[in-house]
Symmetry: C2
Subunit: 197 residues, 2 copies
């Protein structure tokens, strides 16, 4: 690993490689030795950088939430129109899950239960913040609707998260369904469910 | 473990216990020794019953798919009205995922990638069969709609599976949202997404 990089960059590089190994072997099946070899550090060197295997998992998840913030949330905050803001959030979140190069996102989704205690509480707090944002956006969109809502903003937010997050289990880029087609169909379907039109 | 039971019953009892251990420790984190102790067999006795750890995971998933067949699919086949048939399938599938006593279902959902080769292909074939059934039911419901469909039956089936299967990640029975309320809201929302009303 190059020695000239700043610590944040270096941590992210470790996270990206470790995410691929956790993805391939599972959190319990991957050893710190596997990860140290893959990033070109000694095992002691890896522990020096990340503290512990738990902490490494936390850093990967934290990095994944940073990616969500940087590539989706910070961009949609500027959009004033509620429906367009929610639509852009849906398209951005789908893009994150289906682009296989962001395995940090898959690790967040799959290894949810592997993290314990305070580190888990910190990741859950970030997830809750995102869920609240979705709820708020959904509720603003519903306020514009003619028909009475079919579902509470909270349950609609979880339905949406389920539709999108589950993609990591079945969607394969380059398969029969193109990403654009998928994202547009999911967004259209979700808005119809919310608004009846 | 009682010696008087028939082999199928005994295998299911092993599956139920092993499912709980895989759920708690993850497939990679759980040992055959852990499982043997929990079911009251020697490790050799457990291997005699299930062949291998892979095979045990397969048996758990196969049992989970049997539960889906027995408690949901076989019952809805008798319903002639397409919308009611799909509604009953949605409510039944939700019930399976949220009832924590059916951890076989959670193991199917979470340990999807832990199974390899021919055993994985056999479980995937059973899953595909269920997806095709959902597609067919969705397409029959869409055929009754006035507005043009917002989504293909296949993507709608995956959206539905995502909404429901993701419940194992966040829904806690006995929490703020009652199971009936959740199931009715999800079904209403899904039909509105399909039909626009």
């Amino acid at each position: 690993m190059a020695q000239t990089r700043d610590p944040k960059h270096q941590l992210r590089e470790i996270c990206r490689t470790a995410a691929r190994i956790f993805y391939d072997k599972g959190y319990d099946g991957a050893s710190m030795q596997d990860i140290a070899e893959a990033v070109g550090l000694t095992k002691a060197g890896l522990y020096h950088h990340v503290g512990s295997k738990d902490r490494l998992l936390f850093e990967i998840m934290n990095y994944g939430m940073d990616i969500l913030d940087e590539t989706v949330i910070s961009k949609v905050r500027r959009i004033a129109e509620p429906r367009e803001r929610l639509r852009r959030t849906i398209l951005g979140h789908i893009d994150l899950v289906v682009r296989t190069r962001d395995l940090e996102i898959t690790v967040i989704l799959h290894e949810n239960r592997s993290l314990r205690g305070e580190l888990r509480a910190r990741i859950n707090a970030r997830k809750q913040e995102y869920i609240h944002l979705l709820e708020q956006m959904i509720s603003e969109v519903q306020a514009q609707a003619v028909s009475p809502p079919a579902i509470s903003p909270r349950l609609a937010a979880f339905a949406l998260l389920g539709m999108i997050n589950w993609l990591y289990q079945w969607y394969r880029p380059g398969g029969a369904v193109k990403e654009d087609e998928l994202a547009e169909a999911y967004a259209r379907f979700f808005f119809r469910g919310l608004l009846g039109s």
